[in-house]
Symmetry: C2
Subunit: 301 residues, 2 copies
């Protein structure tokens, strides 16, 4: 597919431990499976798009520490253009240790190291790369660079997709600059008190479509004056790490493929569901064929 997606956001390196159960404090818990890979909402969404044959470019910041090197290597391995991922000496890249408990059906407890490296500055992003993209994906971190990128995209007529995960400084500006809003349930609750109220508030920013993802409960979408719910596909999930990120990748894939909004959300939903069959944010990303097959044959929850 001859399309290019540029994303700007926070990249992380994730250590993921599958355990039988989440242990009480002051005890020892054996790890059944240790996986590690790059993470971060936009970074993993771009990896999922790259797997589907879409050209992708990532803009962000890492330190020159091990996590930073592994983040870059992981993205390059997946064919993501990392020339916009800038390295600074010193500080720490974001790193996380994620415990996934089998006993509670894959519930995740996340220990995370906040990045101490300076965020990407607005003057460090390439306007030319944004203008020559088919879509821009933002996660709302690195506020100043994100707003500059969104304004650049707007001026050039490049649609902006906003992955709204947490309400933070700059969120309102980015909602106003977005063509598509895909928010987590957590965001919807803290922004508006719940998914339906959030969709209503999102409409005041006049996006082409807005979706709130609800995990195993599927998602709700507002578009073209109407609202619809999409149930999740029924899969034997072992780890939901990255499922939201892969949903965003699938959403963009649907949009640039010319799917209507219902089929776009359904595609994103199937794409994200299949990811959950393997531990880690990226190992389980399915192929186009697998995703279309689940859409055709899969059972809804």
């Amino acid at each position: 597919m001859n399309k290019t997606i540029t994303g700007l956001g926070q990249a992380s390196y994730d250590y993921i431990a599958i355990t039988d159960s989440y242990p009480p404090e002051d005890t020892k818990q054996e790890i059944l499976e240790w996986t590690e890979c790059g993470g971060g909402p936009v970074a993993t969404a771009l990896v999922s798009l790259s797997r589907l044959g879409v050209k992708t470019r990532f803009m962000g910041r890492v330190s020159n520490d091990r996590s930073g090197r592994l983040i870059r290597a992981g993205l390059r391995h997946e064919g993501v253009d990392t020339r916009g991922l800038k390295t600074l000496k010193g500080g720490k890249s974001q790193t996380a240790f994620i415990v996934v408990s089998q006993k509670t059906g894959g519930k995740r407890t996340i220990f995370w190291q906040r990045p101490t490296v300076a965020p990407l500055g607005p003057d460090e992003i390439s306007a030319a790369k944004i203008k020559t993209s088919d879509m821009l994906l933002l996660d709302g971190l690195m506020k100043e660079a994100s707003i500059r990128a969104a304004c650049t995209a707007k001026e050039a007529g490049v649609p902006v997709v906003f992955d709204a995960g947490t309400v933070r400084d700059g969120t309102l500006e980015l909602l106003g600059l977005s063509d598509y809003i895909v928010a987590s349930e957590k965001f919807a609750r803290s922004f508006a008190g719940g998914p339906k109220k959030a969709l209503k508030k999102f409409r005041s920013f006049n996006p082409k479509a807005a979706t709130v993802t609800l995990g195993a409960k599927g998602s709700v979408t507002s578009a073209g004056g109407g609202t619809f719910a999409t149930p999740a596909f029924k899969v034997a999930a072992v780890d939901t790490t990255g499922a939201g990120d892969v949903f965003h990748g699938g959403y963009i894939y649907g949009l640039i493929s010319g799917f209507d909004i219902r089929r776009t959300v359904e595609f994103a939903s199937a794409f994200a569901a299949l990811k959950c069959l393997k531990p880690g944010g990226r190992d389980g990303i399915p192929t186009l064929g697998e995703t279309l097959k689940l859409m055709k044959d899969g059972k809804k929850r």
Copy 2:
């Protein structure tokens, strides 16, 4: 000091996260400080001896994975001779993620990946290196190699120190081959029902001395027909990771320095207490001068 200590045991690579508190399942917890270094009872004890100027040699097994490379590099960086640390392709080296909660005074919750690389075999250890050592330290893991090493030491008149952490297959044989037994409180409980009962049982193996460490409660020692308690030094501990291992290093240092057994235990106790002032198993290992100063001026609990 012109002495050489050889140790054989399990090496690990530890990621240590200092957090404000230990989180409930299904939540996110920020890591305040992320430290990482090699670990393992014998490996860290040898590092502590190397810091005090003692020649040290480590025998063990790692895989050729990242943890294995980092374990070897960490030991070499500390001047430990790693020619007896054998690498096998494939499998996994032992790796741990340790959460240290400040709210509960440094309580540790350990997530650990069991090594899947084959243990060191008895024919892979160098008898010549053991015979030319002043003391041999064992942790009871890799049973067959440990028993062979202990027998080789015995025949050559090299004293054997046994770090008894967990009761497992081979424990009784090693207790019988040991000149000095230093056991954890956990070992004492599971082996004999408690520290005093353990000391009594240890005497049946006729060691020169046996000590049970009790964390902040100090230790109890049986030697020369008598028994004595040693209180712990009062320090503002931030992380007890590796404190037991450093205690073993200090214990050996006292013995090879010709300290009597009371002074040996007191030295080990001060040496281990100072380690706890810094996160991680090795960063906080103190100098000889710092340890002697705490012995002279320090407050007991």
